[in-house]
Symmetry: C2
Subunit: 459 residues, 2 copies
């Protein structure tokens, strides 16, 4: 549906809502996708939200509920009757119900669990206990399981009978009588096979599965690698416990990337969207690194104290250029390595190759930048301004450009190696945030800079 | 399959290859997934690659081919016979064939197209002309189309007949006699409906579709929003031209994130994996920004020249702290905004909310950091070292900490607003790379710093 059509439908929904024409409201809402209805509800005032939500057919209501932001879910749930609460929990897919409960404060979870039957409560409690970063937390139990002794016809019949509440029916999991996973069969395979063929003969025995405790990153790597739509989750005795579907994995990939972005920018990763984060949350996520880096920055300065006598004004004016160049060159290298590790293009085993590559790149880059800097310096001080800088212009130009070369070399090596070292130590490579690298490089390169000045300019 | 099992299979494949036991080789390979066979081939010497590839059954060979890196595809293709080339093109899904051709140099494309029949060549040429950033370039034509007048039984029959070569059979597209898209129906719907029901009555008329020229980002947003497995592509008369499947969209999301990472780190985005990029490519992608930023950095210095008389050594030693803090604070804000825009959490319309939020965060952060800095400064110079810094210690501490406060304020505002301005001007927000922001902030904040020193310390 294109934008103008969507706006027209929305205007008509607003009108029906205002005029309390509930039948019309319900019919108009039904022309929208669940994600669009959720967005519409979130844009409304709280009193309208409940009205719109209550008018939706039961099944659609649950689908819409899964797309709502946690704060809207919470206010809705607090106004729900007993029946509404039971109904939404019955209709939600298990993974969506668990996602919702994980976001709620304890008193809401208690209210919700009080309205479920004992069997459902047991399942929900089990799912809530899976570690947040594990495959178990992405899992759902609404999948189709077939016995390997079924025929194709029996299998299709079973899917027709039980499929309606399953999150995906396109891949069915074939097990023995003890629920041990033995193979998979797709609906495509079923449709293309003879009716009386035995499932055990047409299933693909080469199944890729994960365990409940495997971490989310592993799950998303498997999806990216094999282009799956769903993936079975098994326990330590190879028994089926659930499946993970690709729509949840898209979110995992995006969350992991967001965390890397945040770490590289010296932020504490946060799950809350920016606009929903309070001033205090935002401050909390930024203050630690800023404070640490600010204080380390002052030590860089203290280090420079020993070169007090070498601090010609002209040298001081090139300090920002030097520290910025080091920071930029370092963060270029660090970002490529962090990203390469994240998408699986490089591993820690490649460290020699990377080091050798970065050294050669740094030779080239450093050479070009140093030459530019020498030209720019002599152009200004020997040809244009001709002012007295307190030292020989060409020697000073040499100090500045040799330092540029040194800075590039050290920052490319440090920037590329630190993320690999972090990975080797089983830390997040992005934790070697570009700013941390910058501070280290600042210290080394400014010391080198004023040291060179002392040596070459004899001051 | 777990790692140890995989290593065992690989050892056995290596053995069969070495001993030229081709039947065993073929059987062992068949136990691996196409993605794993491709990885195995890429790890081998070139002469072994062709042997392993040739032993694969035709259909599996095409699947494996799609997973190979472009350079390996190219060397294989150059060794292919006429028959092998035709066969791989016949078996590849159209989108994989187009992806492959797009990566090849012109002479390889010519060789390949010379081996296709005229009809296939026409389709390939049309697809190769779709703009690289558009929905058309992600599209495939292997989908199931149903006429709205079919019954459920006829439809299932049709899927059974023609489904085998289709990339997905799980969503079928329902059209009128002129191929105009009218609705979608999933295999799940078909399996759950009565056999004699007419498709036109059970199809979902509320179809989301994209046009061939819509850009990739729009496509990936739709997939993320609605949790689709596939999406129809239509022309300007609403006629079906192809579909996009979710596995290709996962790659789009990842590529877009990689580009943002690169832009934020002042790198020119590149499509080549790090380890496959030459030294010259890497240098080329880094040099421009480094050069621009280095030269701008020297102007920051020149600006400082006017404060020559205010340059107490103690003030100079706090310069790195000040510029680093500004850079870090700015890149924190910029990263949150760039990421928020990318995942659709914020839009340019939110700019007032964001500005107000950042100002309050900056007040808090700036206050805390300035207090720390005042304490650290007076602790060192009034209590511990007691050295003569050439000015009143408390006034100098005030200059440094007021500057810290100012730097935080200016960098949060600039860092959050520049990406929004870029977006408004229809530029990539990540192009307002954190380093560019740092250089701007350096200039403003160092001028403020030495200006304050002149004013407060009367030097």
């Amino acid at each position: 549906m294109d934008k103008s059509k969507k706006t027209a439908v929305e205007a008509s929904i607003n009108e029906a809502l205002r005029d309390k024409k509930y039948l019309k409201l319900r019919n108009e809402l039904a022309t929208l996708k669940p994600a669009d209805i959720a967005e519409y509800i979130m844009r409304k005032e709280s009193k309208d939200r409940l009205v719109v939500y209550r008018i939706l057919p039961k099944e659609l209501a649950a689908e819409v509920f899964a797309y709502l932001d946690a704060d809207v879910q919470q206010t809705l749930v607090m106004s729900f009757t007993h029946e509404e609460l039971s109904s939404v929990l019955d209709e939600l897919f298990l993974d969506d119900a668990v996602d919702f409960l994980e976001e709620m404060p304890a008193y809401v979870v208690d209210k919700v669990l009080a309205h479920t039957d004992p069997e459902q409560r047991k399942i929900l409690n089990r799912f809530l206990q899976y570690p947040e970063n594990g495959a178990g937390s992405l899992m759902t139990i609404e999948y189709v399981m077939l016995n390997k002794n079924y025929t194709v016809e029996e299998s299709i019949g079973r899917i027709r009978r039980i499929g309606i509440d399953k999150e995906t029916v396109y891949t069915a999991y074939v097990t023995d009588n003890m629920r041990v996973l033995e193979g998979v069969v797709t609906v495509k395979d079923l449709l293309l096979a003879e009716n009386d063929e035995i499932i055990g003969n047409i299933m693909d025995r080469n199944v890729v599965a994960v365990h409940t405790n495997d971490d989310k990153e592993k799950v998303s790597e498997i999806f990216k690698r094999y282009d799956f739509i769903s993936l079975p989750v098994i326990d330590w005795e190879n028994r089926m416990v659930g499946i993970i579907t690709i729509d949840d994995v898209v979110d995992v990939i995006q969350e992991a990337d967001t965390e890397d972005f945040e770490r590289l920018a010296a932020l504490r990763p946060s799950e809350k969207p920016y606009l929903k984060s309070s001033i205090f949350d935002l401050t909390k996520n930024r203050i630690v690194w800023l404070l640490v880096l600010m204080i380390s920055g002052t030590f860089v300065g203290t280090l420079l104290g020993i070169f007090e006598d070498a601090m010609l004004v002209v040298l001081v004016t090139f300090m920002p250029m030097l520290t910025d160049t080091g920071g930029n060159a370092g963060s270029q290298a660090a970002t490529l390595i962090v990203r390469g590790l994240a998408v699986g293009e490089i591993t820690t085993k490649d460290f020699k190759k990377i080091l050798w590559k970065e050294i050669r790149v740094a030779l080239l880059l450093g050479g070009i930048l140093a030459a530019f800097m020498f030209a720019r310096f002599t152009l200004q001080y020997a040809l244009i301004s001709r002012e007295d800088i307190g030292a020989n212009v060409y020697l000073t130009a040499a100090v500045v450009s040799i330092s540029v070369f040194f800075v590039i070399m050290i920052s490319k090596v440090v920037g590329s190696m630190l993320p690999l070292i972090a990975k080797k130590l089983k830390l997040d490579p992005a934790i070697m945030a570009a700013p941390l690298i910058s501070t280290m490089i600042d210290a080394v390169s400014l010391t080198f800079y004023f040291g060179m000045a002392k040596l070459i300019l004899n001051i």
